[in-house]
C-alpha cells in the first residue's frame, strides 16, 4: 500500500464498515487491529527509505495548481517518529478497548481517526494539513460524546468547539502565508518571504497552544480527558496533544525561527506557568482521572519549555519527552478508567488499598506514576533530565526551577499512591472484584515495558530523534 492509501483507505473502510456492522459486532475490532499493524509496519519501513537530509517524497495528488491546493505527502524523521508513535499507540488503544460496549461503531471511528492522523503527519501542504488536523476532531467528538462518562456531552462539545476556534487562527495564518509567499507548501516557505511574520507567528502560536495545551488555553483538556473513555484519553494525550507539539515545532519554531527567537521568552514563560500551574491543580484535585489529566498538562509544559530553547538538544529533548509522556500517561489513564469502571467512583478517598486486591495492575500503576514523577530508570527521568540540561544551557542558571516541577509531580503522584494504591481498603474496594480483560492487561504490560526499556536505554530513541534536527541551524540557539 502506498502512503495516500493509508490516509484514505481507513476513511473509506470506516464508511463501509459502518454500513455492514452494528452493535457489538467485533469485525471492526479485528480489522482495526490488522490495519494498525499494517500502519506500524509501513511507518517503520519508512525509516529505511528516509534520506539523510530533507524530505522523502511520497507523491502529490489532487492538484489544484491555481490555489496551490495539492495533497503533497512528504515525510522527514520527525514525521516518521510521530507516525510510528501514533500507529503503535493505536494498536495499544485498540487492545485496551477490547471489551468496549457498542464496539462496532467505536472501532469504525477509531479507524477513521487513524486515517486522519496519518494525513496530519504526512501532508506538507498547509491546507491539507489543516484538513486532516480538523478531521481528527470529528471521530474524537463522537468517541468522547458517545462512550464518555456522565458529563460527556459537555466535554465533547467543549473540546470540539474550543479546538475548532483555535483552528480558525491556524487557517488564517496559513492564508496569510499563502498570500505573502504564494505557496501552501510548508517545505518551500521561508520566513524571509513573509511580510508579516509576527502576525502569522501569533496566530499559529495561539492555534497550536490550545492543542498542546498551554496555559491559559488548557481548560478543554481536563474535561475531555476525564469524560472520555480511558483508551480515548490515551489517544487524546498520546496523539492529539502530540499533534500540537509537532505542529508547534514544525510550523512555529522551524518555519519562523527569527520571530520565534524573538518571542521565545513568551513560550518559555507560558511553559513554566503550565508546568507549575497544572502541577498545583493536580495536587488539589481529588478526582483521580482529573489529577492524571493535570499531570498530563504539566508534562506538556515541560515539552513547551524544551521547545522554547530552540536548540538542537532542546528540541530533541522535547521529542523524547513527547514519546515518554505518551507511554507514561497512557497506563495512568487506562488504570484510572479501569478503577472507575470497577468501583463506580472517581474520588480518590473512595479508593485505597487497591494493591491488596489487584497487585499487578497496581504495580503497573505505580511504575507509570514513578515515571510521571521522573524516577531514574523510567522514560520520565530521561525526559526531565534532557529538558533540564537543555533549558539551563539555553536560558541560564535560573532554569534550575524546572527541577522543582518534579517535586510538585512527586507531591501529587505519591499522595495519590497513598490514597489509592496503598493503605487500608475502603468499603467500596473491599466489595469490588478487580478483574481485567487479558487484552487490556496486555496493553498495560506493553506500556510498562516501554517505560522501563526506553528509560534504561534511551539511546534507542535518541538515535532516531537526534538526526531530526541536525539539519536545522538556529540563530541564537546552542547549535
Amino acid at each position: 500500500m502506498s502512503a495516500i492509501e493509508f490516509i484514505f483507505a481507513p476513511l473509506v473502510l470506516a464508511l463501509v464498515l459502518s454500513l455492514v456492522t452494528r452493535g457489538n459486532n467485533s469485525l471492526s475490532k479485528y480489522i482495526s487491529l490488522i490495519l494498525f499493524a499494517f500502519m506500524l509496519s509501513f511507518s517503520i519501513n519508512l525509516f529505511s527509505q528516509l534520506p539523510s537530509k530533507g524530505y522523502l517524497d511520497l507523491g502529490s495528488f489532487l492538484a489544484v495548481k491555481k490555489f496551490d491546493f495539492i495533497l503533497t505527502l512528504q515525510v522527514d524523521q520527525l514525521s516518521v517518529v510521530m507516525l510510528v508513535l501514533t500507529s503503535s499507540l493505536l494498536i495499544l488503544v485498540a487492545l485496551s478497548s477490547w471489551s468496549m460496549k457498542n464496539q462496532a461503531m467505536y472501532f469504525n471511528l477509531l479507524i477513521a481517526f487513524s486515517g486522519a492522523i496519518f494525513g496530519v503527519f504526512m501532508s506538507t501542504n498547509f491546507l491539507w494539513f489543516f484538513i486532516f488536523w480538523e478531521l481528527t476532531l470529528v471521530p474524537m467528538y463522537f468517541l468522547v460524546g458517545i462512550w464518555g462518562a456522565e458529563r460527556r456531552v459537555y466535554a465533547a462539545v467543549k473540546f470540539f468547539l474550543y479546538t475548532h476556534v483555535a483552528s480558525m487562527f491556524i487557517i488564517l495564518a496559513f492564508f496569510l502565508i499563502h498570500k505573502e509567499s504564494g505557496t501552501f507548501d510548508m517545505t518551500l516557505v521561508k520566513e524571509s518571504l513573509l511580510l508579516s511574520p509576527v502576525l502569522i507567528w501569533w496566530l499559529l502560536f495561539i492555534g497550536f497552544a490550545v492543542k498542546l495545551p498551554i496555559f491559559p488555553f488548557h481548560t478543554w483538556l481536563p474535561d475531555a480527558h476525564v469524560q472520555a473513555p480511558a483508551p480515548i484519553s490515551v489517544l487524546l494525550a498520546g496523539v492529539l496533544l502530540k499533534m500540537g507539539a509537532y505542529a508547534m515545532i514544525r510550523m512555529v519554531i522551524l518555519l519562523l525561527p527569527e520571530t520565534s527567537q524573538q518571542y521565545a521568552w513568551i513560550i518559555l514563560a507560558l511553559g513554566l506557568i503550565t508546568l507549575f500551574y497544572s502541577g498545583f491543580m493536580a495536587i488539589y484535585e481529588t478526582h483521580l482521572k482529573k489529577m492524571v489529566a493535570y499531570s498530563s498538562i504539566s508534562h506538556m509544559g515541560l515539552v513547551v519549555i524544551a521547545i522554547s530553547t530552540m536548540s538542537y538538544a532542546g528540541l530533541s529533548a522535547a521529542v523524547y519527552e513527547m514519546l515518554g509522556h505518551a507511554f507514561i500517561i497512557a497506563p495512568l489513564f487506562l488504570i484510572a478508567g479501569f478503577l472507575h469502571h470497577k468501583t463506580g467512583s472517581w474520588q480518590m478517598q473512595d479508593m485505597g488499598g487497591i494493591m491488596q486486591k489487584a497487585p499487578y495492575i497496581s504495580a503497573i500503576f505505580v511504575l507509570a506514576g514513578l515515571g510521571a514523577l521522573g524516577l531514574p530508570g523510567t522514560m520520565g527521568f530521561v525526559g526531565e533530565l534532557s529538558i533540564l540540561i537543555s533549558a539551563i544551557k539555553a536560558d541560564g542558571v535560573w532554569m534550575a526551577v524546572v527541577a522543582l516541577g518534579s517535586m510538585v509531580g512527586a507531591g501529587y503522584i505519591i499522595w495519590m499512591f497513598r490514597r489509592v494504591v496503598y493503605g487500608e481498603m475502603s468499603e467500596i474496594v473491599q466489595k469490588t472484584k478487580f478483574s481485567m480483560n487479558p487484552m487490556e492487561f496486555l496493553s498495560l504490560i506493553i506500556f510498562a515495558i516501554a517505560i522501563v526499556l526506553f528509560g534504561l536505554f534511551p539511546n534507542i530513541l535518541f538515535d532516531i530523534i537526534n538526526p531530526i534536527f541536525v539539519q536545522y541551524t538556529f540563530l541564537g540557539g546552542a547549535l
Binding site: G353, L385, I389, S390, V402, N459
Partner: protein, 616 residues
C-alpha cells in the same frame, strides 16, 4: 576487575527479579537466592578490596542528547570500596537476619526482591563516576526505601510513613537534580573526580560552586535525615526492623555524607563546609535531645542515627574528611548492630516496640543483651570501641578549627555526651531490672543463635576490631596519610562525663522510678518533654506549611483561579452568546410589517451612506 565491578552492579538487579519470580513459587527460595547473592556481593567486594591497586574507571555514555553527551560511568576507588564493604557486608548480615524476622510474612518474595534492589541501588551510588549514575543510584535507593517502609502497606501507618519518606527525600533530591543541570551549565562536566580537580584549580566560578554545594547539601540533608528534613526518618521506623537496620541505620542514610565526602574538594573550594557544620551541629543537638525521651525503641535509635550522622557531617564540615568518614564507617557497623538487636528484641516480644513494657529481658536473651551492650558502648564512645576514636577526632577537629570552635563544638560535645545517656537508657530499660509487663515477658522467646545472634556477634566483633584500624580507615577514605588530631584533655573530661551520665541514667530509670514520675510531672519538664518528644515540632511545622500554605493556600488559589477565571471565562462565552442571542432576538419581531420596515430603513441608510460617502 572491570568485569567484576560490572557483575557487582548488575547481580543484585537480576537477583531481585529472580528472587521475586521464584519467590512467588516458594518463599523460601526467595530468601536463599537473596542470601546467596548477598554473600556473593560481599565476596566480590572483598576481592575488589584485596586486589585494589588503582581505581577502577569505566567511563560509559548513556545517551546522546542533541549535541550533548550524557555519561553513565563507574568509578571505584578506596572510598567507594569502603562504602561497598559496608553496603554488601551489612546487607548480607541483614538478609541473613531476616530469615527469622520475616519468617511469617506472606510476601517474602517481594521483600527480598526489594532488599536486593536496594543493595543494587547503594552499590550503584557508591561506584558512580558521574552525577548521573550517582543520581540514579540515589533515586533507586529512595524508591527502595519508599517501597520497603510501606512494605506492610495494608495498614495506615506504614503507608503514611512511606509517603512521608519519599516526599521528604524527594524534596532534597530535586536539588541534586537541579545541581546536575547547574554543573552541566557551569563546568560542562559531570565527572565527580574531575569536578574536584576543576574546583580546586579554579576553573569553575566560585559563587556557582557555593550554590551547587548548597544544592547538593540539601539533597544530603534529605537523604541523611538531618535538620530540617529528618521527620521521615522517625516515621520510617514503621517498616520492618531489618529494613530500618539496613537502610535507615547503616547504609542509605550514609549516602548524604558520602556525597559530601566525594565532592570534598569541591566543597572546600566553594567554602561551603561551614554550612555543613552548622546544620550538622543543629541536627546533632536535636537528635540527641529528642532521643532522650522517646518511648519507642526504634525511635530512639532513629534519633540517635540522626545525631550520629550529624557528627559525621560536623567532622566533614570542620574540615576533616577522615574524621567524618571514619565516623560514618564506625557508625554504620554499630548502628546496624543496635538496630538488629532491636529487631531481635521486637521480634521476640511479639512486635511490641514500647520501651516501658520491656525490662529484664536479659534473662531471656543474654546474647542479644551482651552484643547490644557492646554496640551501645561503641555508640557512647567508650574506648577501645571504634565509636570512641572517630567521635573524639570529630570533637577535636571542631575545637581546632577556629570557624567551628565555639557554638558548634559545644553542641557537638553535648550531642556526644548525650548519646551515652539515651543509649544506656534504652539498654537499661530493656534488659535490666524487673519486667514491667509480665504478660508480655511471659511470651518473650529466646531467639535462634544461628539466624539472629550470630549476625549480632559478627557485628559486635567488627565494631570492636575496627577501633584498632582507625588510622587505616582514615587513610583509605581520605586517600592520604592523615594525622588525626587527638585532644587528650577532651578525652579525659569526656570519659568522666560519660560515666557520670550513665550513672544518672541507671539511677533514674532503674532504681528510682518514683523520682522519674515526680520529675516528669512538673510543668516545665512536661513542656520540655513534649517539645523533645515531638522532635522540636519540625514535622508539625513542615506538615502545617505543606498542608496549609502549599496545598491549602497555593493550590487552592490556583484552583480558584482556574475555576473562576480561566475556565469561567471559557464557559462565560456561553452566557455571553446567550445574552447576545437575546439582544439580537429583539431585532426580529416576526411581523411582516417590521420586516418590510427594516428593508426600507436599510435602503435609506444605504442611500445616506452612498451620498454622504461621496459617491461622486
Amino acid at each position: 576487575m572491570q568485569n567484576l565491578a560490572l557483575t557487582l552492579l548488575l547481580l543484585p538487579m537480576f537477583g531481585a527479579v529472580i528472587a521475586f519470580i521464584l519467590g512467588k513459587i516458594n518463599s523460601k527460595l526467595a530468601f536463599w537466592i537473596a542470601e546467596i547473592i548477598g554473600l556473593a556481593l560481599f565476596l566480590i567486594t572483598l576481592k575488589l578490596f584485596m586486589g585494589f591497586n588503582e581505581p577502577i574507571d569505566i567511563p560509559m555514555t548513556w545517551f546522546t542528547l542533541g549535541n550533548f553527551t550524557i555519561p553513565f560511568g563507574i568509578y571505584i576507588d578506596e572510598l567507594s570500596l569502603v562504602m561497598l564493604l559496608i553496603a554488601t557486608g551489612l546487607g548480607f548480615l541483614d538478609i541473613h537476619f531476616a530469615h527469622d524476622y520475616m519468617k511469617k510474612d506472606p510476601s517474602q518474595a517481594r521483600y527480598y526482591a526489594k532488599v536486593l534492589f536496594f543493595i543494587g541501588g547503594m552499590i550503584l551510588l557508591v561506584s558512580a563516576k558521574d552525577m548521573i549514575s550517582l543520581f540514579t543510584g540515589w533515586e533507586f535507593m529512595g524508591l527502595a526505601s519508599y517501597l520497603l517502609i510501606s512494605f506492610w502497606h495494608e495498614s495506615k501507618e506504614p503507608a503514611d510513613a512511606g509517603m512521608s519518606a519519599f516526599l521528604f527525600t524527594r524534596f532534597g533530591d530535586i536539588f541534586l537534580f537541579g545541581a546536575i543541570g547547574l554543573l552541566f551549565y557551569t563546568s560542562g562536566s559531570l565527572d565527580l573526580v574531575n569536578l574536584n580537580t576543576m574546583a580546586t584549580s579554579g576553573m569553575i566560578d566560585k559563587d556557582m560552586i557555593y550554590i551547587i554545594s548548597i544544592f547538593i547539601f540539601i539533597a544530603a540533608i534529605g537523604k541523611s535525615g538531618q535538620f530540617p528534613l529528618f521527620p521521615w526518618l522517625m516515621r520510617a521506623m514503621e517498616g520492618p526492623t531489618t529494613v530500618s537496620a539496613l537502610i535507615h541505620g547503616a547504609t542509605m542514610v550514609n549516602s548524604g555524607i558520602y556525597i559530601v565526602a566525594r565532592l570534598f574538594d569541591f566543597y572546600v573550594a566553594g567554602e561551603a563546609l561551614i554550612i555543613v557544620a552548622v546544620f550538622g551541629a543543629i541536627s546533632a543537638f536535636i537528635g540527641a535531645t529528642s532521643a532522650l525521651v522517646q518511648n519507642e525503641l526504634k525511635k530512639v535509635l532513629a534519633y540517635s542515627t540522626m545525631s550520629h550522622l550529624s557528627l559525621a557531617f560536623i567532622g566533614l564540615g570542620a574540615g576533616s574528611l577522615a574524621a567524618g568518614m571514619s565516623h560514618l564507617v564506625n557508625h554504620a557497623v554499630f548502628k546496624a548492630l543496635l538496630f538488629l538487636s532491636a529487631g531481635a528484641i521486637i521480634m521476640s516480644a511479639s512486635h511490641v516496640k514500647d520501651l516501658w513494657r520491656f525490662g529484664g529481658f536479659s534473662k531471656k536473651m543474654i546474647g542479644v543483651a551482651i552484643f547490644m551492650g557492646l554496640g551501645a558502648l561503641s555508640l557512647s564512645g567508650i574506648p577501645p570501641f571504634s565509636g570512641f576514636y572517630s567521635k573524639d577526632a570529630i570533637i577535636a577537629t571542631t575545637l581546632l578549627n577556629p570557624q567551628t570552635n565555639g557554638l558548634i563544638s559545644t553542641l557537638t560535645i553535648i550531642a556526644g555526651v548525650l548519646s551515652v545517656a539515651y543509649i544506656s537508657r534504652v539498654w537499661f530499660l530493656t534488659f535490666a531490672g524487673e519486667s514491667r509487663d509480665k504478660e508480655l515477658f511471659e511470651k518473650v522467646k529466646t531467639p535462634s543463635f544461628f539466624w539472629i545472634t550470630l549476625p549480632l556477634a559478627i557485628m559486635a566483633i567488627t565494631t570492636l576490631t575496627l577501633g584498632f584500624f582507625q588510622d587505616d580507615i582514615a587513610k583509605l577514605v581520605s586517600g592520604k596519610v592523615y594525622e588525626e588530631p587527638h585532644v587528650e584533655y577532651v578525652l579525659v573530661s569526656l570519659l568522666s562525663a560519660i560515666v557520670f551520665v550513665a550513672f544518672i541514667i541507671y539511677m533514674y530509670y532503674v532504681k528510682r522510678l518514683d523520682i522519674t514520675k515526680k520529675v516528669a510531672s512538673q510543668p516545665l519538664m512536661k513542656a520540655i518533654h513534649k517539645v523533645l518528644f515531638n522532635g522540636y515540632y519540625v514535622e508539625f511545622f513542615i506538615h502545617y506549611f505543606s498542608r496549609e500554605v502549599v496545598v491549602g493556600a497555593g493550590a487552592k488559589t490556583i484552583n480558584w483561579i482556574d475555576t473562576n477565571l480561566v475556565d469561567a471565562s471559557v464557559n462565560g462565552v456561553k452566557t455571553l452568546t446567550q445574552k447576545i442571542y437575546r439582544l439580537f432576538g429583539k431585532t426580529h419581531s416576526g411581523y411582516a410589517g417590521d420586516n418590510s420596515g427594516a428593508m426600507i430603513i436599510g435602503l435609506l441608510i444605504l442611500l445616506v451612506i452612498l451620498i454622504s460617502g461621496g459617491a461622486m
